[in-house]
């Protein structure tokens, strides 16, 4: 896998011509093979806000049950890509895209697809913890309630399972019916993770989940990510490169809307093939 990594990067350094891109795609195929792939960004995926193009010619495969980190300086489009995966960008007027993204082989831009069903399969945790102004219990079961599942036993079971899974159960089991807004920041973020996994999604998207947290809470979330990857595919956007090295298996480096380098995290950080990657991970810009 590692040897294959170098190739797309060299492609990136040279002029990103369509032919090279296909080549990059083909090398990626070897990096993350078909059976491992869950999410595939393909056909030179591009994305526009109105007339401004923010993502260019992306082709990458995100492996199943691994943590993939998206890094890059502010404005490089990593969050935009993340929000494409659950079509959160649809909330914005005037967006358009080229190319395709598939999850488990299914195109997410298929007109027949219901966005709501997609979002049930692709959970999301946001930069700033955003619990609902409801009780802890109601926060966790929110996704079940909106899909009309109100069976008490099922809800109870889901609450316990999700909270245990997000390592919050012991801290809140005695106050499940109190407001979620009384929790600490780190607890609220873990509650948001519990909320995201209550629906048993296949993918969890995390948009800088620790940027609003202190180091201890961050440590807990990172431990949690490590545990969750046994069951879920996690895509995490982070500004914190140490965090990327700590939690992710693979890392993609974006710059100005382009994928510059994508490969195994240790490889990318210790032996970057690209000058810009090296500059970024060594802190020379960004």
């Amino acid at each position: 896998m590692t040897t294959l990594m170098s190739e797309p990067e060299t492609q990136e350094t040279s002029k990103p011509q369509p032919a090279d891109q296909t080549a990059a795609g083909s090398t990626e195929d070897k990096a993350v093979n078909d059976s491992e792939t869950l999410i595939e960004v393909k056909d030179n995926f591009g994305f526009n806000y109105g007339s401004t193009q923010v993502l260019f010619d992306l082709n990458l495969r995100i492996p199943n049950r691994k943590v993939t980190a998206l890094i890059g300086p502010s404005g490089c489009g990593k969050s935009t890509l993340l929000r494409c995966f659950n079509r959160m960008n649809d909330l914005i007027d005037g967006i358009s895209h080229t190319g395709d993204i598939t999850i488990g082989g299914q195109s997410i831009f298929d007109p027949a697809l219901e966005i709501i069903s997609l979002r049930k399969k692709v959970g999301m945790v946001f930069q700033k913890y955003n619990p609902f102004p409801k009780t802890i219990y109601e926060n966790v079961v929110f996704s079940l309630r909106v899909s009309g599942r109100n069976n008490k036993a099922l809800l109870d079971e889901t609450v316990e399972r999700s909270l245990r899974r997000s390592a919050l159960w012991d801290e809140v089991k005695d106050r499940l019916h109190e407001s979620a807004l009384g929790l600490s920041g780190g607890q609220m973020q873990r509650l948001c993770i519990a909320r995201a996994i209550a629906n048993e999604p296949e993918v969890i998207l995390m948009d800088e989940p620790c940027s609003a947290l202190d180091p201890i809470a961050t440590g807990k979330i990172e431990e949690l990510i490590d545990e969750l990857k046994t069951d879920y595919t996690i895509v995490i956007v982070t500004h914190n490169m140490q965090q990327a090295t700590r939690v992710s298996d693979r890392t993609a480096f974006f710059y100005l809307g382009k994928l510059i380098e994508y490969g195994e995290t240790t490889k990318l950080f210790t032996n970057p093939q690209e000058k810009r990657t090296e500059d970024y991970v060594s802190g020379r810009f960004g």
Binding site: M88, K120, F126, N130, K134, R145, V146, R195, N199
Partner: protein, 564 residues
């Protein structure tokens, strides 16, 4: 670095003073207004001492042609207009309108005899009586006639105790027969009125001959008449009971003599309350104040609204405001949700928003006129035609006339912009992150709004409600067109089925102020009533707003998002 340079004042500091001045000016005006209303409204109920005074022999300010002596309570003490030497004049409340023809009299201080100018005399035994007619009387008691032959002189030691006890007895009896007349006889009157309308409907558009010719119709009418007779019989019994009680009110009577010498005898049933203000200690005064205030709150008006309480007006205002809130909230909130959450921003939506905002600037009387045209004639008329054909046939409108429902809906329409604007603001203030969180959980847009956005913006919605209530409760002009009356015989909610009478006309504090203050013949007598009523209207609005604010704070605690 020179000190001169360091002494430079920062630019724009005087603007701070300007802003502070603006706030101070506003605050002073509001506080002054409230203070004037509060003081004037509340002192109406505080007992004032009654003075017995003598005028100079050549004074032109006599109360009675016969004598220079008079008695009264000071209601105003002011400098004579245009006098430079600071001479004062008093306005006395002399009462006894039935004898003097007026209740207030201005007397310059200089017109009083020498001894009274320095110290006003307060006779201990003088009595003040609140009566059912002609307002208060100020007098010395002479005697009481108990039944037909027993006479109790005022000099008898337990005279006052006995008098008070008998007046109290009369009050209880009055309460009883008013309740009887209002509740039971009211119910019968309702039933009879209904039958009358049915009969009228049966004979509508038919000549007497036609009716007589139609046997089936005659039979129907006869049946109705029989039913009516049954009610009438019941009515007779109750009316007799009431009549007996009314007669009992006339059994005993009090003879009193005014300070100016006139004597008068009135049955005890004509008195509401007799007291001797000059014998009051502080505790008595407080007790008197409380009972007067409570009476004002809880009693029906008397004598063309000039005396008695204003309970029907308070109740009418309250019910109308509640109905208005019930009508305006769902309407305004739904409109705002569509406008903010669903409508695509464009020329049309912007136009709608401008129109809604401008609606707030339409004179309220225009809403009144619209209420008459749309609600009363169109909606009310249609309801009558569809559901109450009897009323239409007998040409008595049921919903097709002014009533509390139409008044509430008119005000609801008037306050819609307030609710829409504040709801829109509240919706916009819900953090985007919370909405995204809900959408990311697989909630649809409506589910997001319903389950997350609306609860989070509930405090903002209540702010809109508070503003709407404050505007609606104080409005008068449109109400005059759509259902407010000077005197409503029945409350919109009572014990006669169906209990809530949306078709009834009602009394309203704001209209009461206008009516008493500007439509009554005696403006001096009306002044205290106007102040007290204004005070109560403000109090009512404050109380209703406080309730809404308490709910809002509760919701804020529950739903405040710590994030963002």
């Amino acid at each position: 670095m020179k000190l001169e340079d360091l002494k430079q004042r920062p630019a724009g500091e005087p603007m701070v003073w300007l802003t502070a001045m603006g706030l101070a000016l506003g605050t002073v005006m509001v506080v002054c207004l409230l203070w004037v209303i509060f003081v004037n409204g509340i002192t109406v109920f505080w007992p004032k001492p009654v003075y017995q005074l003598e005028l100079d022999a050549n004074s032109t300010h006599r109360v009675s042609a016969e004598t220079n002596v008079f008695a009264g309570a000071i209601s105003m003490d002011r400098e004579i207009t245009g006098a430079d030497d600071g001479t004062r004049e008093y306005q006395f409340f002399v009462g006894n309108k039935d004898i003097y023809g007026f209740m207030y009299k201005f007397v310059p201080q200089a017109d009083l005899v020498e001894s009274d100018r320095t110290k006003l005399t307060q006779p201990k035994d003088i009595m003040v009586a609140e009566r059912l007619e002609y307002g208060n009387a100020i007098f010395y008691p002479v005697s009481m006639q108990l039944g037909t032959n027993e006479v109790l002189r005022a000099e008898t030691p337990d005279f006052t105790t006995k008098l008070y006890a008998l007046v109290e007895e009369c009050n209880e009896r009055r309460a009883k027969y008013t309740a009887l007349e209002k509740k039971d006889i009211g119910r019968i009157n309702h039933a009879i009125r209904k039958i009358d309308i049915q009969i009228k409907a049966l004979t509508a558009n038919k000549t007497t001959k036609e009716v007589q010719a139609d046997a089936a119709l005659t039979a129907q009418i006869d049946a109705k008449e029989k039913e009516k007779e049954k009610w009438n019989a019941e009515y007779e019994i109750l009316a007799k009971q009431a009549e007996e009680m009314r007669e009992a009110q006339e059994k005993d009577s009090l003879t009193y003599r005014l300070v100016t010498g006139e004597e008068k005898t009135l049955p005890l049933g004509d008195f509401v309350h007799i007291y001797q203000p000059n014998q009051f200690g502080f505790g008595d005064k407080v007790g008197f104040f409380v009972s007067q205030f409570w009476g004002f709150l809880s009693e029906n008006p008397r004598e063309a609204n000039m005396e008695g309480g204003i309970f029907p007006a308070i109740f009418g205002t309250f019910v109308m405001t509640v109905l208005m809130s019930i009508a305006v909230m769902p309407f305004g909130v739904l409109a705002a949700i569509y406008l903010r959450e669903y409508a695509k921003d464009g020329l049309f939506v912007r136009g709608v928003r401008i129109a809604v905002n401008n609606l707030a600037g339409v004179p309220s009387i225009v809403f009144g006129a619209f209420g008459v045209g749309f609600f009363i004639y169109m909606a009310g008329g249609t309801i009558d035609r569809l559901f109450f054909p009897d009323y239409v046939a007998s040409k008595v409108p049921y919903f097709g006339t002014g009533g509390i429902l139409w008044a509430s809906l008119t005000l609801a329409l008037m306050t819609v912009p307030v609710v829409v604007v504040s709801t829109e603001e509240a919706l916009a203030a819900v953090p985007r992150a919370v909405r995204e969180g809900a959408l990311a959980c697989g909630a649809s847009k409506w589910q997001t709004i319903q389950r997350v956005v609306l609860p989070a913006s509930a405090p903002g919605l209540l702010t809109g409600l508070i503003l709407a209530m404050a505007r609606g409760a104080g409005e008068v002009a449109p109400l005059m067109l759509v259902g407010v009356v000077k005197l409503a015989p029945e409350l919109p909610i009572d014990s006669v089925a169906p209990f809530i009478h949306l078709d009834y006309k009602f009394m309203h504090l704001g209209f009461h102020i206008y009516d008493v203050g500007f439509q009554s013949p005696d403006s001096e007598a009306a002044k205290p009533m106007v102040f007290a009523t204004t005070f109560l209207l403000i109090l009512l609005v404050v109380v209703m707003n406080l309730a809404a604010i308490l709910i809002r704070n509760h919701l804020k605690k529950k739903y405040s998002t710590s994030a963002f």
